[in-house]
């Protein structure tokens, strides 16, 4: 599904963050990119979203080299992703309205896009019906992230990218949304890439964990975590030992 081929990326006049970096993710896998601040994990997500272009090398998604955002990729950011002047419902509809704006041109919207997509089931599924006429400033952080998820999933993506999606939420809300994310991932057979700096979140969401260190990142460090996405994984000894291992690795990387 995703292949990075000798990826090099550097912001202008800065040392490279990635240097000849190779990495692959298969369709349907749940990945977490974990690392300390400044390791380049958000940059990696923007590269996967087609919002940034590599300095050298290639980003290949679904067999195609990426040169711009791909209609079947969904991106959810930590915060500020919703239009403050639009109601929850209008925000959830935004992706569809953008597609209607261009029509099915294969560039901004998929060629097979049909304008009759209904957002209502998504509003209901994510518990947004009661707040549909409110503005993002009036609802809770958890509801805002639910709205962002509904907006993205209404476009039926096959690849879902999330940048620190739950880091500003309180613990119970965060756990609820982590479970929901896993539920939707398995139900919609998504390929999932979540970027986080939280070790616990990585252990819960990532079947596979890509560990980034201080730049430049040259080699992919991958940790398998088959227990993720299973019910009650949080309460197992495996979970605790994985967290311990991740913490140790992050400390030795820093």
């Amino acid at each position: 599904m995703i292949r990075l081929e000798a990826l090099t990326y550097a912001y202008s006049n800065h040392a490279p963050i990635f240097e000849a970096f190779d990495w692959q993710a298969q369709r349907g896998e749940a990945w977490v990119v974990l690392g300390p601040s400044g390791c380049g994990k958000t940059t990696l997500l923007y590269l996967l979203a087609g919002l940034r272009q590599p300095t050298a090398g290639r980003v290949i998604v679904d067999g195609q080299p990426l040169t711009r955002p791909r209609p079947h990729t969904g991106l959810i950011l930590q915060d500020y992703g919703l239009l403050p002047w639009a109601t929850v419902r209008q925000n959830v509809e935004l992706g569809l309205r953008v597609r209607l704006f261009y029509g099915p041109d294969g560039k901004h919207a998929p060629e097979d896009f049909r304008p009759d997509v209904d957002i209502l089931p998504w509003m209901e599924r994510l518990g947004l019906t009661a707040v549909q006429d409110q503005y993002p400033g009036q609802i809770s952080g958890g509801q805002r992230q639910r709205a962002a998820i509904a907006r993205t999933l209404a476009l039926q993506p096959d690849l879902l990218l999330m940048d620190e999606p739950f880091s500003s939420l309180d613990a119970p809300t965060r756990e609820g949304l982590q479970n929901l994310t896993l539920e939707l991932w398995s139900e919609k057979k998504l390929t999932l890439v979540v970027v986080t700096h939280a070790i616990e979140e990585a252990a819960i969401l990532g079947q596979k964990i890509l560990l980034l260190g201080l730049p430049p990142n040259r080699q992919a460090t991958i940790i398998d975590n088959p227990g993720a996405a299973q019910a009650d994984f949080r309460d197992t000894a495996d979970y605790l030992s994985l967290c311990r291992e991740l913490r140790g690795r992050m400390e030795s990387n820093a």
């Binding site: 919002l51 990729t73 500020y80 239009l83 403050p84 639009a86 704006f101 560039k107 901004h108 503005y135």
Partner: protein
């Protein structure tokens, strides 16, 4: 602000005015009732109305012209750091010039008629709108832009769904801040080289006809125009930017 308070304030002003006029007993300060009479007479015989409409047209045309040119320019500057770097010293120098001092120059260049007045109002509003829209557009969070881009939005859709609605409050704030100044400068501009407009009417009634109630009626009309433009902008903001008022 409650409507009742506004009405009370209005009554307060009228009472003070009435008392002053009674105490001073001078022709240059007629009582409010006499002014109201002159005001309605002027509306009825079309004299005052015609001047008021001339002024209103200049304000509306100048405002429309400045929005039409400043809002897109502000959006472009807000999106492009390079262009902004090039133009901002120019704006920095010209923005604070009190535009009223340019009245003689504008009149010399554009002669008599509506055009110089419209251009003056345009010059006042243009910079206000330009600067506020530019700053608003530049301050849109990159996360917002990126997440809308990830939904497939290119330049046109970003403009339609992000930049345009984001700049609307800035346009309205600019209008609210400067519509009073615009009316004041219009008054000054209408003192010269014209026989139409409230500025002319006020000046002519006061210093040539010595018809003071008519002069005050003109002042009242000009004030009403300023106040209604101000409240009109408020009303538009409530209608077009409801999210600003959602608790």
């Amino acid at each position: 602000m409650r409507r009742r308070d506004v009405i009370l304030a209005l009554i307060g002003i009228a009472v003070v005015w009435q008392a002053l006029s009674k105490t001073l007993n001078l022709p240059i300060l007629p009582p409010p009732l006499a002014v109201l009479q002159a005001f309605f007479k002027g509306l009825e015989n079309g004299d005052l109305l015609q001047h008021a409409l001339a002024s209103l047209w200049r304000v509306v045309a100048g405002t429309a012209l400045s929005i039409a040119l400043a809002a897109p320019a502000g959006l472009v500057l807000g999106q492009s750091q390079q262009l902004n770097r090039f133009f901002s010293p120019l704006i920095y120098l010209t923005y604070p010039i009190p535009k009223v001092v340019l009245v003689p120059i504008v009149l010399l260049f554009f002669g008599i008629g509506d055009l110089p007045k419209i251009i003056l109002i345009f010059m006042i509003l243009f910079f206000q709108i330009l600067v506020l829209v530019r700053d608003q557009a530049a301050n849109i969070r990159p996360e917002l832009i990126q997440s809308v881009r990830s939904l497939g939005a290119g330049r046109r859709a970003l403009f339609r769904f992000v930049y345009l609605p984001a700049s609307l409050p800035a346009i309205l704030t600019a209008l609210r801040q400067s519509v009073g100044t615009a009316v004041a400068v219009l008054y000054v501009a209408e003192l010269f080289a014209t026989q139409r407009g409230l500025g002319y009417y006020i000046y002519y009634s006061g210093s040539t006809l010595f018809d003071y109630p008519a002069m005050y009626a003109g002042i009242l009309a000009l004030s009403l125009m300023g106040v209604s433009l101000y409240f009109g902008v408020d009303w538009l903001e409530r209608r077009w930017c409801p999210w600003l008022y959602a608790n």
